[in-house]
């Protein structure tokens, strides 16, 4: 019945078929090799059930050994293949070894010589034979070792009995020649009992059953090497996959059975497995029956009982049901286990038993089925079609077919079919029950259809439920506490994963129609939808179409913004659109835009990033890391989180791990560089990592900026900064940003002419770069050209109405031009853009723009005698703790105020100057005093009385002398 005859296969083929056993064969080969080289004997025993590939392993070993120069130089090989019958003494074992030499030797003369030697032994007296045989063997080996490959050594030993074994052991010990690699179906008493000669003699290795993956691999290898050719591609289809799954289940990962199934499948690829299954049963029935026939009646009874039960049974139950005593049962079970029929699992003091081979159960059930044909059929389908197909058929019949009759009832025959499949669902019914409740709870037909489809498609992937149990959307939905939006998101991304775009969209549509969306999350449903579209690799045109449809829906502002930018930037190629987003939003879009090919970023991480609660966030990260222990993006993200928490040690660990896992990701080296710079203060090392990032992604501008900023701010290396900027302008000649920043750098160095040139370029490249106009305004201001300066500030404000620096600088320029009203309006605009609290915070924190804004308002209030304005500005100082330097400036302004409001409070100028001088230190004077003194000198209006003006000028002059 063996179709896969490992005795006669050619060596390459055998090697190729070595699925799930290669590791064992390799390590045995290594062990023998090393033993022979180091003159140490090795003894190995492989334990595996019938058909687990023992012969195969031995044959491969034999092939490898006999073709290895090292081994053949140091040993003679005796390969005894399933020839255990009839060995009853050491002498007969030696004869078998001689016969093995004859069988495998390629040397004709040697064969004849061995035959002659056996003839000689036949002529000797019985008690002389063993000695002579040993002599022959030893003289043949000379300096070499003997490497014995013995199959079914349990049978050999049981034939030799204890005295024979003892003599073999003596022989092995006395001459140190023998190495044995043996196999056995089970552990047997001859090696297990302390008083047996071979107790603890072998190093034992168990041949496990093949795993599901290995079974698939073996079947695919069969297809590749034995054909037919179409079977190989067939195994890639979902039907092929489910066939492989059922073969795995039916064969229990047993090599021989897998091969048997394969033979039948070869004949009829498209078969639904019922046919091969029945044929296999037919083939196996006599085989199993012959085994069972020779068992004692009690053991037959036990096997019969276990066969009719579909799960492992407790020993005590078996005893009761089979009318046996517990002691008797355990003894029989022991024997059945030794024979390889039964497997046991320890359950407390008792054991649970089941049949070792599922096919045995079916063979018995075939003649003993009491459940009626439906039960039989249903159980067959369970296994044959795999769970996926049953549930899918069931769902399809019930929810997707136009089966509703006018009266709302199902057609009769479909109803029956549904029943069969429902029954087939059997133990898995629980899994579809909550799914069904969920499906039924959706009123909208398209959403329901979508759910059914996605469930069907994803069931192919997950055995019991479309999702891994804990995050199963059905489970989550059933749980009232769970945020439903999360579940919808999962469904939507799953739908898109299976290219069910329409279904996904109609689900999004439905959700917005029902107003069941809660707002306020970063990763909204439309964004998930967008991401799914991008990941699916859909055509740009089609994506645009979906986006336009999406934008019509009443989705939230943030999503609209993000999606619009994506549309403009990615689909319509407007590269400026990206600057409609803040830095953070841009980062988010960046994550969404990356496709699955370049980016393996678990979707949960996006949700996680927006989690505000630090502790919860930490928990979520830990969970995520457990789930994706080797996803460098997760690790890097976690490292960022840790560094913000200032857990530097841990953060560094994860940064390095992420880099180790993906050393080619510039994001990681960049993040780590920042960490080194800001947390560890290791400037030199940080620089290396920034350079590394550029090295990895030389076309990514952000890493260049990181580096050049570093040079400028951290190292203060102006020469190098210049050099790098120059390089950047060459590498990115169309980047407005590069020229802008270069211009700013030149401006800061006082190189106004070149700065103007750079900024002009930035504006030519991007005429809407508000920042560039602002800086051009500043340059003109520095060059003394207030007109052009105001024009540029105004242009910048036109482009960005919230541009505080532009308002500020313009207000200063206006002030210098004595345009107090315009100056005041700009200052008031700045205040209007900010909240009271943020202004107070800024004052407290010495924010120069805000301090000067408020002081200037006060000054303007003072010189225009505008008490309302003074009060308005002064209220910001209420309950604010100022730094000494701001305090000092405020003191001067208060003095000024008093000169206007209440002259009597003013001490003499001398006293005043002395007291101010006492607390003075350089850099204390805020910039607003320069234009003020200029203003006081040039203002000819009568807003301030002459005396007071002179006094103020004198005061400012005195202070300036400090």
């Amino acid at each position: 019945m063996l179709i896969f005859n490992s005795k006669s296969e050619n060596p390459e083929h055998l090697e190729e078929m070595l699925i799930g056993r290669k590791g064992i064969v390799d390590s045995l080969e290594k062990s023998v090799n090393q033993g022979l080289i180091n003159n140490q004997n090795v003894q190995h025993l492989l334990i595996g059930t019938r058909g687990s590939g023992k012969t195969h392993v031995m044959h491969v070993l034999f092939n490898r050994f006999s073709s290895s120069k090292i081994i053949t130089e140091k040993a003679k090989i005796g390969y005894m293949i399933e020839e255990e019958i009839g060995i009853d003494s050491l002498f007969s074992l030696i004869i078998r070894i001689f016969e093995a030499f004859i069988r495998w030797s390629t040397n004709k003369e040697e064969k004849i010589e061995w035959r002659n030697k056996i003839e000689i032994l036949k002529d000797l007296k019985p008690y002389e034979r063993e000695d002579k045989a040993k002599e022959f063997l030893l003289s043949y080996l000379k300096e070499k070792k003997l490497l014995l490959l013995i199959e079914n050594i349990n049978e050999v030993f049981s034939g030799m009995k204890k005295p024979g074994q003892a003599r073999l052991r003596d022989f092995i010990q006395q001459y140190e020649k023998v190495n044995i690699i043996a196999t056995s179906q089970v552990l047997f008493s001859d090696i297990q009992n302390e008083d047996k000669p071979f107790h603890n003699f072998f190093k034992i290795t168990h041949l496990d059953r093949l795993s599901e993956e290995e079974t698939k691999l073996l079947l695919q290898t069969f297809a590749r090497t034995e054909g037919p050719p179409e079977l190989e591609s067939h195994f890639l289809t979902s039907q092929g996959i489910s066939q492989m799954k059922s073969i795995y289940f039916l064969s229990g990962g047993n090599h021989r059975l897998i091969a048997l199934f394969y033979e039948f499948l070869k004949i009829d690829i498209k078969s639904d497995m019922a046919d091969p299954f029945l044929k296999t049963l037919d083939k196996l029935k006599p085989y199993y029956e012959s085994f069972i026939r020779y068992l004692p009646p009690q053991q037959q009874k036990i096997i019969h009982f276990l066969a009719l039960k579909h799960k492992p049974q407790l020993g005590s139950v078996v005893a009761k049901e089979c009318f046996l005593t517990p002691g008797g049962t355990s003894k029989q079970m022991n024997e059945l286990q030794n024979k390889g029929f039964v497997e046991s699992h320890k359950m407390g003091r008792d054991n649970k038993y089941e049949l070792a081979e599922p096919m045995l159960r079916f063979c018995i059930e075939l003649t003993d089925n009491r459940d009626g044909i439906i039960g039989m059929l249903a159980r067959f389908i369970t296994i044959l079609y795999s769970d996926t197909e049953i549930i899918n058929k069931y769902l399809k019949l019930k929810y997707l077919s136009p089966i509703n009759c006018p009266d709302g009832n199902l057609k009769k025959n479909q109803y029956e079919e549904i029943l069969i499949y429902e029954k087939a669902g059997g133990e898995n019914k629980n899994n579809i029950q909550h799914l069904e409740t969920l499906i039924q709870s959706i009123e909208n037909e398209s959403a329901r259809g979508a759910l059914v489809k996605i469930t069907m498609m994803s069931r192919d992937k997950y055995l019991n439920c479309p999702y891994v149990s804990e995050s199963c959307p059905c489970n989550l939905l059933m749980n009232k506490e769970e945020n439903k939006e999360k579940v919808w998101k999962l469904f939507i991304s799953e739908l898109l994963k299976y290219s069910l775009f329409e279904e996904a969209f109609s689900l999004v549509n439905q959700l917005y129609k029902d107003h069941s969306i809660e707002k306020g999350e970063n990763i909204t449903i439309p964004i998930i939808f967008l991401r799914g579209l991008i990941m699916s690799g859909l055509d740009k045109e089609l994506i645009e179409n979906y986006i336009l449809r999406l934008l019509v829906l009443p989705i939230d502002e943030f999503s609209t913004k993000l999606i619009s930018v994506f549309l403009e930037y990615d689909i319509r190629n407007d590269k400026n659109a990206i600057y409609d987003l803040s830095k953070e939003e841009r980062a988010l879009l960046e994550h969404i835009r990356r496709t699955s090919i370049s980016y393996h970023f678990p979707p949960e991480m996006l949700d996680l990033r927006s989690e505000p609660n630090g502790n919860k966030k930490e928990r979520l990260y830990k969970h995520l890391i457990k789930k994706y222990p080797s996803d460098p993006y997760v690790l890097n993200d976690y490292a960022n989180f840790l560094s913000r928490k200032e857990d530097e040690k841990e953060a560094e660990k994860y940064y390095l791990k992420a880099i180790e896992l993906n050393p080619k990701e510039a994001e990681f080296t960049d993040d780590y560089g920042l960490f080194l710079l800001y947390y560890k203060k290791r400037i030199k090392l940080a620089k290396k990592f920034f350079l590394k990032s550029i090295d990895l992604e030389p076309k990514s501008l952000s890493y260049w900026f990181r580096y050049v900023d570093f040079l400028e701010d951290e190292e203060g290396n102006i020469k190098e900064t210049e050099k790098v900027y120059k390089k950047m302008t060459k590498l990115f000649p169309n980047s407005s940003k590069v020229f802008l920043h270069y211009g700013i750098q030149q401006f800061c160095q006082g190189d106004y002419v070149n700065a103007l040139e750079s900024i002009n370029k930035a504006i030519i490249i991007n005429p809407e770069n508000d920042c560039a106009y602002y800086y051009r305004g500043k340059i003109f201001s520095s060059l003394g050209n207030s007109e052009d300066s105001i024009k540029n500030f105004s242009h910048s404000i036109e482009l960005d109405a919230d541009n505080i620096p532009a308002y500020f600088d313009r207000s200063i320029t206006f002030f210098e031009q004595n345009k107090l009203k315009e100056s005041k309006d700009d200052l008031l605009k700045i205040i209007s853009l900010l909240t009271i609290k943020s202004i107070k915070d800024a004052l407290q924190n010495n924010n120069e723009i805000i301090c000067v804004t408020i002081f200037n308002l006060l000054i303007i209030g003072i010189v225009t005698k505008n008490l309302t304005l003074i009060n308005k500005a002064e209220k910001y100082f209420n309950k604010v703790k100022l730094s000494p330097e701001v305090e000092w400036n405020y003191r001067i302004i208060s003095i000024m105020k008093d000169t206007i409001i209440d002259k009597s409070k003013i001490p003499s100028l001398k006293t005043l100057v002395r007291s101010l001088k006492k607390d003075y230190n350089p850099n204390k004077l805020m910039t607003s005093f320069d234009p003020l003194s200029k203003y006081l000198k040039t203002d000819t209006s009568n807003t301030i009385q002459q005396l007071n003006r002179d006094f103020l000028i004198q005061l400012l002059n005195e202070i300036a002398k400090f």
């Binding site: 390590s27 290594k30 062990s31 090393q34 080289i37 180091n38 003159n39 140490q40 007296k125 008690y127 002389e128 000695d131 204890k162 005295p163 074994q165 003892a166 003599r167 073999l168 052991r169 003596d170 022989f171 010990q173 006395q174 001459y175 140190e176 009992n193 302390e194 008083d195 000669p197 107790h199 603890n200 190093k203 034992i204 168990h206």
Partner: protein, 388 residues
């Protein structure tokens, strides 16, 4: 037969001690399985002082005294320690006793009653051929052979005869240069107990021999062994390995079998000799299913060779001791045992003595009180996890 001793590392101190004993006395050498007894004997056959002629035979598989003699004789011949047939006393004797039968026929039943004479003649031949030398006959698994005579083959009388004959040979020929080493993993005391209890044996057949025990290796030998094993493997070592090798030897109580086992595992799994890997492999040895560490023979040995009435108590004592952190006095052990069974003071002392002789436990005497604990920490850990 000379064995290749390149792979037999260490034990030099023990060996030189044995040789110095062997100048005057025979030795009974016992220890647990897997301690390296056979290896040691084999090393003695290849490296020995000039005045000795060592000879090794393993006898576990001999099922009767005549078979023992036959195989011994053949082996001696093979090792060329006997004179040519024609000139030998045994040949002479054989011809006179068994006229017409070839010497190889001595396996026949008619030879059975003559093995003792044959043995004596052979010893005389040995002395004749190796004049002036001390001939060391090392009989490996000697107690096991006797045990099988008694238990499996119903040859208790023959076992007694063998013990007595060998004693007589030592007494008659010992001074002339014949010495023995009886070696075995089951103690010869187990065989003697059996004979005394069930076969009314009252002799003291080994009281002229030195009792020696082969224990774990010295730290230096253990390290030497570990280094040798690493050298002959594919394991990469670095500067930290020295410390780690030291650690490895300590972890396994300097027991050679376990040093070998762990290094092989590390080699097969392509690991480095690090502290973590050593700890991992030791843990695997102790806790993983299967019987890789072969610790089971420690408990099987009690089941197999201890008499029924003390089996249970011996195991109870070991179970309890495996859970104790400190040495326990005889009295504490007695009290514990008394809480489980009815026990006599003498019985407990006897069991403790037996376990002590059998190397399960070690003893310390403080202020005249005997305290016990497991001899090997490794075994203790295994016992406490798997049995205790």
């Amino acid at each position: 037969m000379r064995f290749d001793s390149t792979n037999i590392i260490g034990r030099d101190k023990e060996i030189s001690n044995f040789f110095s004993i062997l100048k005057t006395h025979s030795i009974v050498l016992s220890s647990h399985r897997r301690m390296g007894k056979t290896m040691l004997l084999k090393k003695m056959t290849s490296e020995y002082p000039n005045e000795f002629v060592p000879f090794f035979i393993i006898v576990e598989g001999k099922s009767s005294p005549e078979e023992f003699f036959h195989d011994l004789y053949r082996q001696l011949q093979e090792d060329k320690l006997l004179p040519d047939n024609k000139n030998s006393r045994i040949f002479d004797w054989y011809e006179k006793t068994f006229a017409g039968m070839e010497i190889k026929d001595m396996k026949l039943p008619s030879f059975r009653s003559h093995w003792k004479d044959a043995l004596r003649k052979t010893v005389e031949d040995l002395l004749e051929t190796n004049k002036g030398k001390n001939i060391i006959i090392m009989i490996d698994e000697f107690p096991m052979m006797l045990y099988k005579f008694i238990k499996d083959n119903d040859l208790a009388k023959e076992a007694i005869e063998m013990l007595d004959t060998l004693r007589e040979i030592r007494q008659v020929y010992g001074d002339k240069g014949i010495k023995f080493i009886f070696c075995g993993s089951i103690g010869i005391n187990i065989v003697l107990d059996l004979l005394r209890k069930n076969h009314h044996y009252a002799g003291e057949p080994i009281n002229d021999m030195n009792l020696e025990i082969l224990d774990a290796m010295t730290p230096m030998d253990a390290e030497m062994l570990a280094n040798h094993l690493i050298k002959t493997s594919n394991i990469k070592i670095d500067s930290s390995s020295v410390m780690n090798i030291d650690e490895l030897c300590k972890e396994v109580d300097f027991l050679p079998f376990y040093i070998d086992l762990i290094i092989k595992e590390i080699d097969i799994n392509q690991e480095v000799v690090s502290k973590e890997n050593i700890a991992k492999e030791v843990e695997k040895l102790i806790s993983s299913p299967g019987n890789q560490g072969q610790f089971n023979h420690f408990s099987d040995r009690i089941n197999t060779y201890y008499e029924e009435d003390i089996k249970l108590k011996a195991k109870q004592i070991l179970n309890w001791l495996s859970r104790q952190d400190v040495l326990k006095s005889e009295e504490e052990i007695r009290n514990y045992l008394a809480s489980k069974n009815t026990v006599q003071i003498e019985d407990v002392n006897l069991i403790l003595k037996k376990l002590f002789d059998d190397l399960y436990i070690k003893r310390e005497i403080k202020d005249g009180i005997r305290f016990y604990e497991f001899k090997y920490r490794l075994l203790k850990r295994w016992w406490s996890i798997n049995l205790g």
